[in-house]
Amino acid sequence: MNRLTVTVLGIVAAVGGSGIVFVGINKLFDLTESRYAQFNGIVGGLVSAGLFGLLWGNRIIESPEIATLIAIAIGGATGYALGVLEAPDRRLVAGAGGGVALGLLAGLFAQDSVMPSIDPVATVVGVVIGAGLGLAVWAVAGRGDNMVPRLLAGTAFGWLFGAWLAADFDGSRAEVIIAAVVLGGLVGAVVGTRRHPNQVERAQIAVASRKFIFLTPALVFVSAALVIPLMRTIWLGFLTGNPRDLRWTGLTNYTELFSDAGIIDFSGFGDIFTSRMFWGAILLIVAGVFVGRFVGRSLGTSFSLDAGSLSLLGGGATLFGFALFTTVRGTIANNLWWIFSVIIFAVSLGLAVAVLADRSKGENIAKSFIFLPMAISFVGAGVIWRLIYVARPPGDPQTGVFNTLWVEIGKASNSGTAQIVISIILGLIILPLLYLAWRGWQAGSNPLMAGSLLVSALLGYLIYRFVGPGIGGFKTSEVTGEIIADPVLFIQTGPWNNFWMMLVFIWIYTGFAMVIFSAAIKAVSEDLLEAARIDGATESQTFWRVTVPQIFPTIGVVTTTLIVTVLKVFDIPKVMTNGNFDTQVLANEMWERAFTQLNFGLGSAVAVVLFIGVLPVMYLNIRRMQKERLG
């Protein structure tokens, strides 16, 4: 119960506090028009509070609570005076006076350890250079009537460097008071030289301030959480050593990274030529090109990218990618494989579901269930799929869905009756498919014919495997010669365990792709589709020649989003294998280097590699937005 109260209070405090700050600042700037003096007083108090807060945080002043309270009072009074006084000389006196008072306060409360022994030479040099800089700024900025404030500001800056930062901190109380009072007086004088705004200008302040009030919180958070850390990470990538003592090392982190066989390993590349997947890929791609040319010629174009040729080419590309990524290994290869598989499967499945569900019965139910995994966390999904993949010892009953099916298929292909029954069932499925192919041939529908023949061929191969060499999770025991179950260690056996984890991601993100494609398909103009139908296009022709070109930009958006998301995949490998069994990915590599081994340099270098990976996507996004917004 106690914890519950603390939690609720924490939530209320965080949300309420932020709200009060924002509304308060807006209300404060509402005062400029009607009650300028009060507004000025509050701003003066807030600025002093901030200034003394900084001194407080740096442990520069003693009994900081009292000093800060007095400072707020002085700042408030000065601000109020500046809000009332209009004559320039009085304003100067008020500003400088307030500054001197704050300086005196800081000097009186200064700790012994920060008392500068003022070095006259450094101070004079600093002041001269500062004043010169101020004049230079004035000259460059067009030589308006603001020479005095620029000169004063430059001098104050020079004083800060000369009397404070260049000095050794072993001076006396008198010296710290002089150093602080002069600085305060100069800064106060700069403020005092500002003209008293008239009614119109006050109204302008009220209006012009809003953009800052509205934007500052966002920009502060974005810079503090993303921009500055990003730059710091890039810098850290060039350093080495433990977190407390980092030294410059140039590109060593990167050379170390890329010479590590765990990161990228081409040594197995030669095996690709003996892999069946590779030759299968070549075969499919050649067939795809041939079909595309053949169909294209019959339609009068040079190449037809439709269901037939695209499925062959896509299948070939998939096989080729898998052949490549099972031979070239390492963390970066794993990441590329992730991107490759997730894009191919999530985009094609998402598109298929969106098309099939579109305007069909139960569309919303079907889409809901496909989309549901999007709501589940990667951690939850990892646990869910571990149950699906689990492998029990050969003697025990299997409890994972995959291994149960696999072992049961193995049993069936070793039992005479099951062989016959399954062959007959598959044969009964093949017959109507062949009939369908014939109908497709008659109707001139190449995709229908090709699809039916392809599925028939696959089923035929399945019959062959069942009756012939056998298929499924079984092996012959070396000891007894018996047939025993042989479950697959989905999570432990590389390199395919990578793919089984990608499947989890595909399971989640197919819904994402589907939802976006679904919206895009519904946005395709009905008139266009109707026109195509009136011209005698079949459903599949309408889809490939009208719908697909219309949703093509959406495919690009989904792909880039997936690239960004998959590139930083972390949770699934972390929960399922923690990078073991040859499944390391960049995000987990980064986390381990940085937070387990506390090697900030190398961790940052891995993070920079990730960042470089998204740069092309960032570039594309920026170009797209530029086109939309700047015309």
Binding site: V15, L54, R210, A225, L226, L356, A366, I370
Partner: protein, 323 residues
């Protein structure tokens, strides 16, 4: 598509007055794609369903047979796993972790929405120099992976931020060492920063699309930006605010990386995802609790999802299709 197919086959049989066997088989086979859809739906649902069923089975049953055998267990359903996983004195103490998850997700949802709404309004309706570029730069950060910010942020939370001035070599503490690492506020701050590019993008798309007349007449009535924002824009933007809220709530509730990095070893402040993930890392004695644990962290997103699916879908599709 399928509807049209049905219509064509129906047309054929209407013309011929009978339905030959061939056509019947043909029509039947042409609906294979629809079967494919529903098979996919079942396949997509089985994993979640199996988790649900297994979470009500004892350790022994879970090890002895698959979830489809649940009904033949003697003691199905049992709540033992849940009892054990939720309470700290018996098991994993997921109950406390759930409170932390709520604390993280609620605040890390509300604060980014507020901040992003201000900024989106400014980008949409306040004119200033460099507005377009600032907007594009902010939204471009959407693609930046969180990993690039983790190391500097963690050291800022644990040691504060100090700036060492060049030449004079003095160090000034800009952000105090509040010892935030290991505490929930560090996760709030991090989520807020990371969420803003997307939030601004999403809210801006909507707020910029509100009718211009509205703002002109409000300005004529003498309303300033703050009043317009408060009285007009916020009430009108409820749909998109809800869409982002759901998206962000699920995102922060499901987050693992940021909490793991920022909270790390402080057991008191860990959210539920980390507790479940560490159960998963044990590979042994308490593995049967994993099902209940995973289901507990999944139930909240599922409830949100089914109750507010429309908003969630809008949050995801907004900007992707038109943009």
């Amino acid at each position: 598509m399928t509807a049209t197919t049905e219509r064509t086959t129906a047309g054929i049989s209407a013309l011929t007055g009978r339905r030959p066997l061939g056509n019947r088989i043909y029509g039947w086979l042409r609906s294979i794609p629809t079967w494919f859809l529903w098979i996919l739906v079942i396949v997509w649902t089985v994993p979640t369903f199996s988790l649900f069923v297994n979470s009500f089975r004892t350790r022994d049953s879970q090890r002895a047979s698959g979830f489809w055998n649940a009904l033949s267990d003697g003691d199905f359903p049992t709540l033992d796993n849940y009892r054990e996983v939720l309470f700290p004195d018996v098991g994993a103490g997921l109950g406390n972790a759930l409170l932390n998850s709520v604390a993280i997700a609620v605040v890390a949802t509300i604060i980014p929405i507020a901040i992003a709404a201000f900024a989106a309004y400014a980008f949409a309706w306040i004119d200033f120099k460099g507005r377009e570029w600032l907007f594009i730069a902010t939204v471009a950060l959407l693609a930046v992976p969180t990993q690039v910010a983790l190391i500097p942020l963690l050291s800022a939370y644990s040691n504060g931020v100090a700036l060492t001035l060049p030449i004079v070599d003095r160090t000034i503490q800009l952000f105090p060492d509040l010892d935030l690492s290991g505490q929930i506020p560090s996760v709030w701050l991090t989520h807020t920063g990371f969420a803003l590019p997307f939030a601004i993008f999403l809210l801006h798309n909507y707020i910029a699309g509100l009718p211009k007349d509205l703002f002109e007449s409000a300005a004529l009535d003498g309303a300033d930006h703050f009043k317009v924002f408060w009285r007009l824009v916020l009430p009108l933007s409820v749909p998109v605010l809800a869409a982002f809220a759901i998206f962000q709530f699920l995102w922060t509730w499901n987050d693992y990386l940021i909490a793991l990095t920022m909270i790390g070893g402080n057991r008191e402040a860990l959210p539920a995802t980390i507790v479940v993930a560490s159960l998963a890392g044990e590979f042994g004695a308490r593995e049967h609790l994993l099902t209940a644990g995973a289901f507990v962290i999944t139930i909240m997103p599922l409830v949100v999802f089914f109750a507010l699916q429309r908003f969630f879908v809008r949050g995801i599709t907004a900007g992707s299709v038109k943009g």
